[in-house]
């Protein structure tokens, strides 16, 4: 036995080196290296799971990358550990880190430190070729980017937007293609480029993200922090008859045990919207009735998670079991067990709790029966979509504490302001006494438009007075976090011989699970733009969202549209085949154009307008790219069949009924500007875009812009980062504020120079530049911004402009996706040969980022289309509980998607921009299904289109 080992056995103490610094530590028995490193404030070592599946925790040990979450801490004795922060730091980045900054190799950036540690090891090992990158990167998941920008960062090249597929040998690129501004845009880096709108400056936090120093939600050390763990219901439907927490409370290290006796009695919804009336009030912090497996029964606050979890196991609960319903088709049947039979439909805003009905829509425009009679060709079918987990790499988490007598919540949320409002309502607190803010958020995709952890932390902080943390495990993310609504969708479409649609009939049944969070919104949104996209004289929609005792469904990128578009676009494809019409032509013939009414079951309100229109260009771009091909080699063998397919989609650029944001821009010392805006950065790139917008309006450069955001204390109200509102609403508020400040500066310059402060007289003679203002006519010297600021302060003139945007008008954005695939008829394997997305994003503020959003949306959609499903056992229990069983796409699974932008300019968005984060997801699954149909002659109608399902279609 060595001395070191003897020492461990005696005292448990050990030493090792992290990034060249000696660390002495006493790991707890069973501790993994990741938690030990984080306890030593190496927050660059992230946690995405617990089982070695995601790579967020990757560190090098003596030069070899390992998953530190499954590496016993004791084993690090005497070892040299290198984390991302050890590879390089802001101002002194390692080349690989710099390349991640330059090529925008991240979005939320939560995967990035681990990814870079792996990449650095690949680079250092001469034996490993970058050709094998897809396999070498298997251990590191990224949910945001779709990996193209990551592999570009590692390889050190920039794939043109019309890049080839990974599956294609030789990585040849497509024939020259023109289109879209991306290629034309040079990269402008750091301080050297101005980074104005239309160019692609790197992310503001880039250098900190790649070195792991940008803090996320839990990346802060708080002395005396307590931890919260939850006991979940083992039953899908039960009532708590009795609870005995005595043993749990007596466990040393336990501070408090909470049960339904401690719960506020105010009903709420975990879903958050600008209007709290959008969602049914059907949830309690703790409910005596348990409606899904995993629902909170009790919570324990203790010195450590381990103690809290141990205490949870000591709670004795007597349950009274109830009949449960799991099949949404049976939920509405007479005699079905009622999930919320106790609710008042008016108070809780439910369509009919006696039929498990949360929301429904029945309506007709024209007469579908007549329309079908007029049709020469009719197609009808049923489509089924599945539960999808967001799988943002940062799980949900909140830290809370008291600051004086104020409650502070640091949470992983897309909606801090809405969380603040609802927490105050639930706990009867004065908003002035509650601060909610986020650090950088490690991905959201809609999953963080929910209030899932903040309420328990509030309860715990208020009753213990201590700082408390509640963090979801990856298993929590799969089992109790709302998923994408699974839907059964019936579509009937009819057309005349010339291809003109005469009737469209849609039936939707959505399983919203045990709680109605987002149920009405997803149902209404899902059936709106999907239907409104087409000029059909006769339309009918029958949609229902029902309760079951399955885990809840919620908001997810596309907000219901992805599911319904899957069905409608597949039905249209089948119709085109029957008619013998090209699918692109069918779209050209029937899609709405400016001037056409937007109709679902009645004409949409006047708030929805064609602020710009690029669908025609998108169809042309995608069709041309598909025709051009990409020289991808078709796999040889009789069993391979090749096909092509496409689909379109439309989305409103903002949620309906208002989305509010207030921004302020202030001139500060050094010619810098401080922008305050409430919206949250969670990988969608708003911080960069807001800086670009402000810099452009203020004739300065992005490096002169500082941003405070996503904090109820330091920014004005913002409804939140959802509904694609980050650029179109918050960005517009920033533009308005920055423009107003620019005007003010001109006025102040006139005043300073002795002229009056009368607006509109001689103000036009002063011009704002990067470092100051100049009187144009007299060609005077530059008056520095600092000079003006001092003068303004002395004269009590404010240099802050505040503006609001209320999102009252909404525009429309469009996406068209096309695929060429090869399908192996012997195994059901689908290989993507070419993937094309054409997008109408209006004016593209940051082409590189926008392209990243599209690639990431496509990657997520391909996960939906091919691999992912949260599987239930038929009795409400999730069987896919760890990442090992849930298939998030990896680099090796994905093609490089060619991205094209339509040239359009929106009248509503800032500088003519439209939103482009959710919409990219929507046309992908149907386009792929249509391509598979083309290849094998049989139509897949169920997602995911996994090899076993395709094989069954062929051999079933």
């Amino acid at each position: 036995m060595t001395l070191e080992q003897a020492k461990i056995e005696e005292t448990g103490a050990m030493t090792f080196e992290v990034n060249g610094t000696r660390v002495e530590a006493t790991p707890a028995p069973g501790q993994c290296l990741r938690t030990l490193l984080r306890e030593h404030e190496h927050f660059e070592v992230k946690k995405g799971c617990d089982t070695g599946d995601c790579g967020a925790c990757t560190v090098q040990i003596d030069g070899t990358p390992v998953h530190s979450c499954i590496y016993p801490a004791h084993r690090a004795v005497g070892k040299q550990i290198t984390t991302a922060a050890g590879l390089g730091q802001p101002g002194n980045l390692a080349p690989i880190q710099q390349r991640f900054v330059d090529a925008s190799g991240f979005q939320c950036g939560f995967c990035t430190p681990g990814m870079i540690v792996t990449a650095a090891a690949i680079e250092a090992d001469a034996a490993l070729g970058v050709d094998d990158l897809p396999r070498l990167l298997k251990g590191n998941l990224c949910r945001c980017t779709g990996y193209r920008s990551i592999s570009d960062s590692i390889v050190g090249q920039h794939t043109p937007p019309d890049g080839s597929c990974h599956t294609a040998p030789g990585h040849e690129h497509a024939e020259a293609s023109s289109l879209g501004p991306v290629r034309a845009t040079g990269r402008t880096r750091g301080a050297r480029g101005a980074g104005l709108v239309g160019t692609s400056p790197g992310a503001i936090a880039g250098e900190r993200v790649v070195s792991g120093l940008e803090p996320y939600t839990l990346d802060v050390a708080i002395p005396g922090l307590l931890h919260l763990a939850v006991l979940g219901s083992p039953h899908a439907h039960a009532r708590i008859r009795s609870l005995n927490v005595a043993k749990a409370a007596a466990l040393p290290g336990v501070h408090r045990v909470f049960t339904h006796a401690d719960s506020p009695t105010t009903l709420f919804s975990t879903a958050r919207h600008e209007s709290r009336f959008d969602d049914p009030d059907d949830t309690l912090v703790f409910d005596q009735t348990l409606r899904f497996r995993g629902q909170r029964v009790a919570a324990v606050v203790a010195d450590s998670v381990a103690i809290a979890e141990a205490a949870c196991r000591l709670i004795d609960v007597e349950y009274e079991l109830r009949d449960a319903v799991f099949d949404p088709r049976l939920a509405g049947a007479p005699g079905a067990p009622l999930v919320h039979g106790d609710k008042d439909p008016v108070v809780s805003r439910l369509a009919d709790p006696t039929r498990n009905l949360v929301a429904e829509l029945h309506g007709e425009f024209g007469s579908v029966d007549e329309g079908l009679e007029m049709a020469t060709t009719i197609v009808s079918g049923r489509w089924q979509t599945q539960r999808i987990a967001h799988t943002h790499l940062e799980t949900h988490a909140t830290m809370g504490w008291l600051s004086g007598d104020r409650l502070v919540l640091r949470t992983s949320s897309q909606v801090p302001f809405l969380v603040q409002k609802e927490i105050c309502r639930l706990f009867d607190l004065d908003p002035a006494g509650v601060r909610v803010f986020t650090a950088r958020v490690g991905g959201g995709f809609g999953g963080k438009q929910e209030l899932l952890t903040e309420d328990l932390v509030t309860l715990a902080v208020l009753s213990t007075g201590r700082p408390v943390q509640y963090e979801f495990t990856r298993t929590d993310e799969f089992t109790i976090t709302p998923v994408r609504h699974p839907m059964t969708i019936d579509v009937t479409v009819g057309a005349q011989g010339d291809g003109r649609l005469t009737a469209l009939k849609l039936g939707v049944l959505a399983d919203t699970g045990a709680y109605g969070n987002h149920a009405p919104g997803v149902m209404f949104h899902g059936t709106s733009e999907s239907v409104a996209l087409y000029n059909v004289p006769n339309k009918r929609v029958d949609a229902q969202s029902v309760y079951t005792n399955n885990p809840p469904s919620g908001a997810f990128r596309g907000y219901g549209l992805g599911q319904v578009i899957f069905a409608i676009e597949c039905a249209l494809d089948e119709l085109a085949r029957e008619l013998g019409v090209d699918p692109f032509e069918l779209r050209r013939l029937n899609s709405v154009r400016p001037g056409d009414p937007l109709v679902v079951t009645h004409e949409e309100g006047p708030d929805l307008i064609f602020g710009s229109y690029g669908l025609d260009q998108c169809l042309d771009l995608a069709e041309a790219a598909l025709k051009r091909g990409n020289r991808a080699v078709v796999p040889v063998g009789l069993q391979w069949r090749v096909g092509t397919g496409m689909a379109s989609s439309m989305i409103a650029t903002t949620p309906p009924r208002g989305h509010r944001s207030q921004a302020s821009v202030q001139l500060v010392a050094g010619g810098r500007y401080l922008v305050r805006v409430g919206t949250t950065e969670f990988g969608n790139g708003t911080t960069t875009v807001h800086a670009q917008i402000a810099a452009t309006a203020l004739h300065t450069s992005v490096d002169r812009i500082d941003l405070l955001h996503s904090d109820t204390d330091s920014a004005g109200y913002d409804s939140g980062a959802f509904g694609s509102a980050g650029v179109v609403v918050a960005g517009k508020a920033v533009l308005a504020a920055a423009t107003a400040l620019a005007e003010t500066l001109v006025e102040v310059a006139s005043a300073w120079s002795g002229h009056g402060l009368t607006r509109g007289t001689d103000t036009g003679t002063w011009q704002l530049e990067h470092d100051g203002l100049r009187a144009v006519e007299s060609e005077s010297e530059l008056v520095s911004l600092d000079t003006l600021m001092h003068w303004a302060t002395a004269n009590d003139v404010g240099l802050t402009a505040v503006r609001r945007e209320d999102g009252a008008l909404r525009s429309l954005a469009f996406n068209v996706h096309a695929f060429r695939v090869a399908v192996n008829t012997a195994t059901g394997e689908v290989r993507i040969l070419q993937s094309v997305q054409a997008a109408d994003a209006g004016f593209v503020v940051n082409p590189e980022q926008c392209r990243g959003q599209i690639e990431g949306g496509v990657a997520q959609a391909l996960g939906t289309a091919l691999f992912e499903e949260v599987v239930l056992d038929g009795a409400g229990a999730v069987t896919t509980r760890v990442l090992r069983n849930y298939h998030v796409p990896q680099l090796v699974d994905l093609p490089v998607t060619e991205v094209y932008f339509a040239q359009s300019h929106d009248v509503l968005g800032p500088y003519g921009a439209k939103s482009m984060s959710e919409s990219t997801y929507n046309p992908v699954a149907p386009a792929l299904a249509n391509a598979i149909r083309d290849a094998i002659g049989i139509r897949p109608t169920e997602l995911p289109m996994s090899p076993d399902r395709i094989w069954r279609l062929l051999h079933g």
Binding site: I70, N140, V305, A306, T827, V882
Partner: protein, 298 residues
């Protein structure tokens, strides 16, 4: 955080030390090798040992040795070592094939062959490979060493013949002239555990006929080789028709479960398809090592 149940931890300094520690701490102690199967199980509370005995430092068990007619693989040999070894590639390409598709490079840096075999997960690729290669497991305990065939070693899902106070020390793989072998797996995505996988090892006689053939399957409910195929293949000249027959037998022999990786008939179909493919490749590899033999088409 998912927290394993509390346990104590001790690092073994030698095989004898490890055995002594296992003996001292008794029934509730477990050895941990790479930890890449055991730690996730503990975090998910599927395993709860009181004592963990870390054998990660036992370099004496980390070796690859061509020793006359056998390849000796120490139990602590990492997946990466197996993947990168030229000896392994030359003698047993089936191992290289399998290692290519096991997990990701970071897991392969730590995970060991001993841990894989002792874990005995039905989806563990190396278990099938060792079965197919007629490997022998060398197990040491207080009473000395035992040599076990894979059939004796591998008792069923998550169950082996290694007693609580014993260690797997080494895996011995017999080297046969004129042999070829191959492994192929269908995953739902790359680096994933198998939906189904198959391995084959074939020995050709000088006249080009098959003198020995073994086929094994992963993740389809069969803990043994598909012995049924041997009778069909041995003595025959390899042909596509023969492979098809063997594929059918493999499909009949397996007993898969339906799960999120696919339904039963699909997995059966894969057993058939993959058996044909690995036999095809194994035969052509064997032929390459036997001059003058070519595989007939058809």
């Amino acid at each position: 955080m998912q927290i394993p149940a509390p346990f104590d931890y001790v690092r073994a300094s030698s095989v004898d030390n490890a055995l002594a520690l296992l003996d001292r701490h008794g029934a509730e102690s477990r050895v941990v090798a790479g930890g890449h199967s055991l730690l996730p199980m503990m975090k998910l509370r599927l395993a709860r040992p009181d004592w963990l005995i870390d054998i990660n430092d036992l370099y004496e068990l980390d070796y690859l040795l061509v020793d006359g007619p056998v390849l000796r693989i120490g139990a602590m040999t990492r997946h990466t070592t197996l993947l990168e070894s030229d000896d392994v590639r030359r003698l047993f390409p089936i191992i290289t094939d399998a290692e290519h598709v096991i997990a990701d490079p970071i897991v392969r840096n730590r995970g060991t062959i001993g841990g894989s075999l002792c874990q005995a997960d039905p989806a563990e690729d190396l278990s099938t490979v060792c079965h197919v290669l007629d490997a022998v497991a060398v197990v040491r305990g207080p009473a000395g060493e035992r040599m076990l065939s894979m059939a004796e070693f591998h008792r069923g899902p998550y169950e082996t013949a290694v007693a609580q106070n014993e260690l797997l020390i080494e895996v011995r793989v017999p080297i046969r002239a004129g042999s070829g072998s191959a492994y192929e797996k269908v995953e739902r995505r790359v680096g994933d555990w198998a939906v189904a996988a198959a391995g084959a090892s074939v020995t050709l006689a000088a006249d080009g006929t098959i003198s020995k053939a073994t086929v094994g399957l992963t993740a389809v409910g069969l803990d043994r080789n598909v012995t049924e195929v041997e009778a069909v293949l041995v003595g025959q000249v390899p042909t596509e028709q023969l492979f098809a027959e063997a594929g059918q037998l493999a499909a009949d022999a397996c007993d898969p479960l339906a799960d999120q990786r696919g339904p039963i008939d699909y997995k059966r179909h894969l057993a058939d398809e993959l058996t044909r493919r690995v036999l095809r490749v194994a035969c052509s590899r064997a032929a390459a090592s036997v001059p003058d033999v070519t595989i007939q088409e058809g």
